[in-house]
Symmetry: C2
């Protein structure tokens, strides 16, 4: 029997207890040993929980209990969780966490502390989808060329409704909140930070890149407008918030932003709150992993998969936490935000008079930005929206061009820009 | 250093050698040890191979070489491969195979022989997609409710062309052969046997079911007609060859056949030669795994993932070969072919005269087969095609009804039937 202590008995923690009970037959057969949750830690002892384990409000009751083999950390947050996990590992307890923020900031310290003690985190990225295992084990023969993930279900749900049903941003945000998809303060989701945490974890496994959220480009979906959505439809794109990691030479681009992708891609077909991650390996080509990215039972499914693995393997015999047994001398470096290269869609609200278009194209041309498509839509009698897409160019050049459009008063309102991945 | 012997140095074996060389940096960092192919076995020594390992035509040169740690079996076939793998395991060598036919017939004997010796087979199902790992590890917390897989790329390519481009069966089969997708004798692919082998392997991991190909329902795509394709389009279905495993009570249905699925499902969106497997777990819900199901590099990617895993874990510390450490007392049994329950689409070529329709509906009604949709299309002045879809009913009842249509001369030609999964 392996005894499990759960730190944070909320939705996911309760699901972990219930599934270990509901599916005890098959889980025991797979693990080869009974997996028993014995204790849980909560903040508020007076709140009723639907679990039969011993409940305390002091993590040390679990951390100092030598009979507990595996600590499941579901408390959330960064520094508090770090201290709990660190102590558990130092006590030699295996740790399973679903805490993406913790890993976005402390995964390399924790890997060092863990050493041969199992430390697993499948549930931290894309909920019930076994994407960590796919990257760390299944695709191990490959140099990873790119990872593109729909890894925030709230944003995918909102964009889906905006593009397919014409609902505006504020209305759909309220609906997502009412449905429980988005928090009362939704900025963590719609601002792209949740996706960034997950992207950083995947990038460590693929590339050994030790970056933190503040090192990478993170944009959300707050500025997506109805015009952008019309453009996407008119030119045959889907609009998704993606976490993207891709290599170019010895640089790794890491970025989270809304992006236009061809509707023929599998990622474009992922609707509603579902998550999916497309991974391109240099040998295998594209593989894609799809499923529920959140929810108590789906997340608990991943947590328990990790517990079963720990039971099967024992200490020091699994994959290294972040995928590499020896240090990776691949010479890969994080690309500067300005060095990102992709295609862009621009929307410029300009005066409808001769000479404007020529100024716009000159400013772009001077920065080696070449135009692929252009459409001009009248806004009123004196102004128009210029919608244009570019061939591949650098982020720095695009940002510079957009700034010049503003400083030279070529645009009547702030220009909009969305990146295109194809 | 771990030394690897490759038995069968064809397309996949050559890719294994090349990838171990090309990606040596990252593979060594992930495995924690250098993985070196040292010897290969071929049938025909005079044929030139693009590998630098020692080549022999005698498997014993590898099996009796105590310095070789891991045997990769890529020779194909059943009994010859069984003897080679058995001997390798008995010598204590870890085995990696891509041989689905071998496992379709001998997986349980081989699991017994392997004991604690690692025996991995990720490449045997869906090529480069890590579906074995997903089923065995990633979804371990779940009772698996269903597995539905597009696991034969040749059939998917052919159906795709037939449905989207109106190409007829014989033309597209010839094209698939010219492209190298289908063999000169294509019956293994188009007859559904290849998919059945893969389905049986997945079913063992999900359910512990020890069935052989001859125990289950296997139909191919040879009898799909243009009318069936029109029906699919008219009623909003995609047409796929699926390997299906699903539970109903204590029964497990295992079957391979062409099937109509709603176009809104992710599986319906898998085009061309790509593979995908949708798995529904009782806790996680649906997850789906997509990627290349064949090809030298994609298959070798999965073979090498297994080799890296073996290097990381060592003996006796991985997952049990078929997923269960202790015997599974789940009480699941293979459903009889006649006990399969699903929905059906029928095409009946009947005389266009009063009374025929009433006889058809009476025969169906007497067997509790209720009709969901019906369309009648004129064939000529005196006959029509009745296209109808049913609600859920049993295979036995449908087959009996079809037989009666023929014996009572209600139909002018053999009725067509395709199952519907929705």
């Amino acid at each position: 029997m392996l005894k499990i202590g759960i730190i944070g008995v909320g939705t996911v923690g309760t699901s972990v207890c219930q599934i270990l009970e509901d599916n005890k037959d098959i889980i025991t057969a797979r693990a080869g040993v009974e997996l028993v949750p014995v204790a849980g830690v909560v903040n508020n002892l007076s709140k009723k929980r639907d679990v039969s384990i011993k409940i305390t409000d002091n993590p040390d009751d679990i951390l100092n209990d030598d009979s507990i083999d595996i600590v499941v950390e579901l408390m959330g947050g960064v520094e508090g969780a770090y201290n709990v996990v660190k102590k558990a590992l130092q006590k030699g307890k295996a740790v399973v966490t679903a805490n993406k923020a913790l890993l976005a900031y402390h995964r390399y310290e924790l890997q060092d502390i863990a050493g041969d003690t199992p430390f697993e985190f499948e549930a931290a990225v894309a909920g019930g989808i076994p994407i960590i295992s796919a990257l760390r084990e299944g695709l191990g023969a490959n140099h990873i060329e790119s990872i593109k993930g729909i890894i925030n279900g709230t944003c995918n749900y909102m964009l889906d409704k905006m593009i397919n049903e014409g609902v505006d941003y504020d209305t759909i945000l309220k609906e997502a909140q009412d449905l429980g998809y988005a928090e009362a303060d939704p900025s963590f989701d719609v601002g792209g930070f949740d996706a960034a945490h997950k992207l950083l974890i995947m990038a460590s496994i693929a590339y050994g890149i030790d970056a933190k959220p503040e090192d990478i480009l993170i944009e959300g979906i707050e500025n997506v407008s109805p015009e952008d959505i019309s453009f996407a439809k008119e030119f045959g794109y889907a609009l998704k918030l993606l976490g993207i990691a891709k290599t170019r030479g010895d640089k790794v681009e890491l970025r989270v932003h809304a992006v236009l992708i061809p509707t023929s891609e599998m990622l474009a077909k992922v609707d509603g709150v579902m998550n999916a991650v497309s991974v391109v390996g240099d040998k295998v080509g594209e593989t894609l992993y799809y499923g529920p990215g959140a929810g108590g039972d789906a997340t608990a499914s991943a947590v328990i998969a990790n517990i079963i693995d720990i039971a099967r393997k024992g200490k020091g015999k699994g994959s290294p936490m972040l995928g590499f047994k020896t240090s990776l001398e691949s010479g890969l470096h994080l690309a500067d935000k300005g060095d990102i290269e992709t295609k862009y869609y621009l929307r410029l609200h300009v005066e409808d008079k001769p000479g404007v278009l020529s100024k716009v194209t000159t400013i772009l041309g001077n920065r080696n930005i070449s135009i692929k498509n252009m459409v001009q839509n009248s806004v009123d009698e004196t102004s128009a929206n210029l919608l244009l897409s570019t061939h591949t160019c650098s982020e720095k050049d695009i940002k510079e061009a957009l700034e010049i459009f503003e400083t030279e008063n070529l645009v009547l309102s702030k220009p909009a820009m969305i990146r295109i991945e194809e």
